[in-house]
């Protein structure tokens, strides 16, 4: 085999979440109440536009969640000497499918800083060359980049023209693709609603369909206009420049996406079971169970969050450091630390949701039909499963989408303080941490920070907008009035 698949724990959890989401979606379709709620989400233009953006981010994250170790090339010397077959050896470096796609971005490292789209380095250097007379000559200039615009050869004046050409081509392609997509959508809609194409087209753009197609199409259009030019340029230039050790910043922001997604999503895997189980238990059984659970969450939430996280992260770090034999690669170590961070964030953030669910359950169990069920001697578990849980789901969904963005933001702050993800893992937090010193440089190095800002802002903004749409659709108070 040319590679050895590596299954990181976070990969498993991410794909598990993906599967859960799929199952949940299928269940939602069958449940009329949820279906109408989701349809409300589907009608929200802001919600659907941001969902489209999020799909792209999730796609990048999922591609980055299939890992493998490439096989090392056979040692040439031993192959020639004809020794017996060697067992295949694999690199210690763990790559993902995204890494494989982005190989040019990942491997084309410069020496140090270079501006976006530059062909020369950002700082002057002494360059040595041998003159015609064989004497060493030194001069001071901006050295040519090894990879940025390398295809131009010595003819650097062609850069602007080359970039313009690539941009034009990418834009043309984007427009073409978009028209094709829009036409296909219209055709699909026409068949589904059995009307003419013109009618479907009109419905899409006059907001008359049951789904915010116009928002989705417009977003896709914008995305195409951004992504295709980026793609067209990124393989020959450093679109967002390079960082201190010459790594492509564009590559780094793309890698950060997965970290943010894992933090924002996997954490809920810890939060939800704890909060739902304990919250329902406390609200339904009351008495000493309630007291105990209340005690537990009051105690936990009264500890200042950062201190709790700091202590717990340090503890995990010690555990990891003391057991190096658990990890075959550095990626696995970093992955465990990431999961530990998710776990700890989950432990510190379940209390709020738990309190909400407890209150809601207290209210629900007083309802007549549940009282009646109890009087008929229906088992408690059955009542919880049949009547209480489904009625809590809207709170859970709202909490889930609302938490996502705050978790992504929290990661950046924690990594800045030094208790976030592993320092070898690319994340928005580590990027900001590394880049913030660069603002003080003169001339200022702004692109790392700017790239991290733009990507993080887009991700969080999309998440926030989707959260709003979901809340509006699921919250019975708001949804009822709308």
């Amino acid at each position: 085999m040319a590679f050895l698949p590596v299954i990181l724990w976070s990969d498993v959890l991410i794909w598990l979440l993906f599967a859960t989401a799929a199952i949940f979606g299928w269940l939602s379709v069958r449940n009329p109440l949820w279906r109408t709620a989701w349809q409300r989400v589907g009608r929200s233009r802001a919600g659907m536009a941001s969902a489209t953006v999020l799909v792209v981010f999730v796609g990048v994250g999922l591609l980055d969640s299939i890992h493998y170790r490439p096989r090392l090339e056979e040692a040439a010397a031993s192959a020639a000497s004809g020794t017996s077959r060697q067992p295949p050896a694999y690199a210690v470096e763990v790559l993902s499918v995204l890494d494989a796609i982005l190989t040019p971005l990942r491997t084309r490292n410069e020496k140090t800083y270079s501006e976006p789209l530059a062909t020369r380095a950002y700082a002057k250097e002494s360059i040595e060359s041998r003159g015609a007379d064989g004497q060493l000559q030194q001069s001071r200039d901006y050295p040519r980049l090894k990879h940025g615009g390398a295809h131009l050869g010595t003819d650097e004046t062609q850069r602007d023209a080359d970039i313009g050409q690539r941009l034009l081509r990418a834009l043309a392609l984007a427009t073409l693709l978009w028209w094709a997509l829009a036409a296909a959508t219209a055709a699909g809609l026409a068949r589904a609603e059995s009307c003419t194409h013109e009618e479907a087209w009109r419905r899409i753009w006059h907001n008359e369909s049951d789904f915010a197609w116009n928002a989705v199409l417009a977003t896709i259009g914008v995305l195409l206009l951004v992504v295709l030019p980026l793609a067209a340029l990124s393989f020959n230039y450093h679109v967002f420049g390079t960082d201190k050790v010459g790594q492509d910043v564009f590559y780094q922001v793309l890698k950060s996406v997965r970290t943010a997604l894992v933090i924002g999503l996997v954490t809920t895997l810890v939060t939800l079971p704890l909060a739902i189980f304990l919250g329902v238990l406390a609200g339904y059984f009351r008495g000493w169970v309630d007291d105990l659970i209340q005690y537990l969450y009051t105690t936990l939430s009264s500890i200042p969050g950062v201190l709790l996280i700091a202590a717990a992260v340090l503890m995990m770090q010690v555990l990891i450091d003391n057991h190096p034999q658990w990890f075959a690669t550095a990626a696995e170590r970093a992955d465990l630390r990431l999961l530990a961070l998710c776990f700890i964030l989950g432990v510190t953030s379940w209390t709020g949701l738990c309190r909400l669910l407890r209150g809601e359950t207290l209210k629900l169990r007083e309802l007549e039909y549940i009282q009646a069920a109890q009087a008929f001697g229906v088992a408690d578990l059955r009542i919880i499963g049949r009547h209480i849980l489904p009625n809590l789901m809207h709170i859970v969904i709202i909490a889930l989408v609302m938490d996502f963005s705050s978790l992504v933001l929290a990661e950046a702050v924690l990594s800045y303080v030094g208790i976030g993800v592993d320092p070898t893992m690319i994340s928005f937090g580590t990027m900001i941490n590394n880049a913030r010193m660069e603002l003080a440089r003169e001339p200022m190095v702004w692109w790392s920070l700017a790239a991290a800002f733009v990507f993080m802002f887009t991700l969080v903004l999309a998440a926030n907008l989707l959260a709003d749409a979901v809340r509006d659709a699921f919250d019975p108070r708001i949804a009822g009035s709308a």
């Binding site: 202590a311 913030r436 969080v460 903004l461 709003d468």
Partner: protein, 325 residues
């Protein structure tokens, strides 16, 4: 009322014990007393004897929770946990690992923390509530729409960017205030402006949106419609009825926070070099100073509980119908 207070305070006791056990357990899984000794004694020329001496002197040579060697109640009392935690309930925080009195340090650092946190809080509340009221007044108009969009955009920006950007623009480029530091007494004002400004701005997004939701909920109620029907102007309705009735949900969120203002803000203080409790905490975490971390956690929990009690009390002032039983 008094009986209620006493009962609440008694409830707090087991919570504080629980907090102590958790921090203690977490910290000593991370750090053996040996680690702490090595951290405090520095890097160069540290001998095992010096470490033992350090531990013995500070009482870290005892067992953690249970002392098998002792007899009677000493099994539990002659341990690190008991000797280090029990005294905290009497308000005695002991000394930091570098020998300095923690209680003293905390009192001297409270001032700077409050000087930043209090104006940020008050100004932030004023700005966001009035902004939210404005949005409510213009509800369902373009002003409202763009206001909300602005809020969502502002809350999607990481707090780090506000600080980095603010420092860069206001201090570095425009040279309006010192970039960091702190002065005592009246000199403090110019150091306070920038952190407070950044603190207020970074909080606008989420708080405004939250208050706006509360106001909107309130404004759709029947009594508001009645008031309007009586011919009261929109402003009067907003301020006299909506704002007052929205107080309860606002208080729930706000009063809990007030005592915690003493703890300062970790990020702001470390970025702006303010010698407050937030930077004290960060330093203690980095230096693995257990005594300080434990004291800060303890104080944080006490303040949180005080906040909860205050919240309950404040309800009675806002809404006399709520009684304690």
């Amino acid at each position: 009322m008094l009986a209620y207070l006493v009962r609440r305070l008694l409830y707090a006791l087991p919570i504080l014990i629980g907090v102590n056990v958790i921090t203690f357990a977490l910290f000593f899984v991370v750090n053996t007393p040996d680690d702490m000794a090595r951290m405090q004694l520095g890097v160069k020329r540290v001998t095992p004897e010096a470490i033992d001496k350090w531990k013995a002197q500070r009482g870290y040579d005892k067992p953690l929770f249970i002392n098998d060697a002792a007899s009677g109640s000493a099994v539990f009392t002659d341990t690190i946990f008991f000797s280090k935690s029990a005294r905290m309930f009497a308000g005695d925080f002991g000394r930091a690992e570098d020998g300095r009195d923690i209680a003293r340090e905390i009192t001297s650092r409270m001032g700077p923390s409050l000087a930043i946190a209090l104006p940020t809080f008050v100004l932030g509340l004023l700005v966001t509530v009035s902004f939210a009221l404005m949005l409510t007044f213009f509800r369902a108009s373009y002003l409202d729409f763009w206001g909300v969009v602005l809020c969502v955009a502002m809350m999607s920006i990481s707090g780090l960017f506000y600080i980095i950007g603010g420092q860069f623009l206001i201090s570095k480029l425009w040279k309006l205030v010192p970039i960091s530091g702190y002065g005592s007494g009246l000199d403090a004002w110019k150091f306070v402006i920038l952190p407070v400004l950044i603190g207020v701005i970074s909080g606008i997004g989420s708080s405004t949106r939250w208050y706006r939701t509360i106001f909107l909920e309130e404004i759709s109620r029947d009594y508001v419609r009645t008031a309007r029907a009586k011919g009261l102007s929109e402003l009067v309705v907003l301020f006299r009825h909506v704002l007052r009735n929205a107080m309860i949900p606002i208080l729930t969120g706000v009063v809990v926070v007030i005592p915690l203002l003493f703890m300062g803000s970790l990020l702001t203080e470390s970025f702006f070099g303010i010698p407050g409790l937030g930077s004290y905490t960060i330093d203690a975490i980095n230096a693995q100073d257990f005594a300080v971390v434990r004291a800060m956690v303890f104080i944080g929990s006490v303040l949180y509980i005080v906040g909860l009690i205050l919240t309950d009390l404040s309800y009675t002032f806002v809404d006399p119908r709520i009684r304690f039983n």
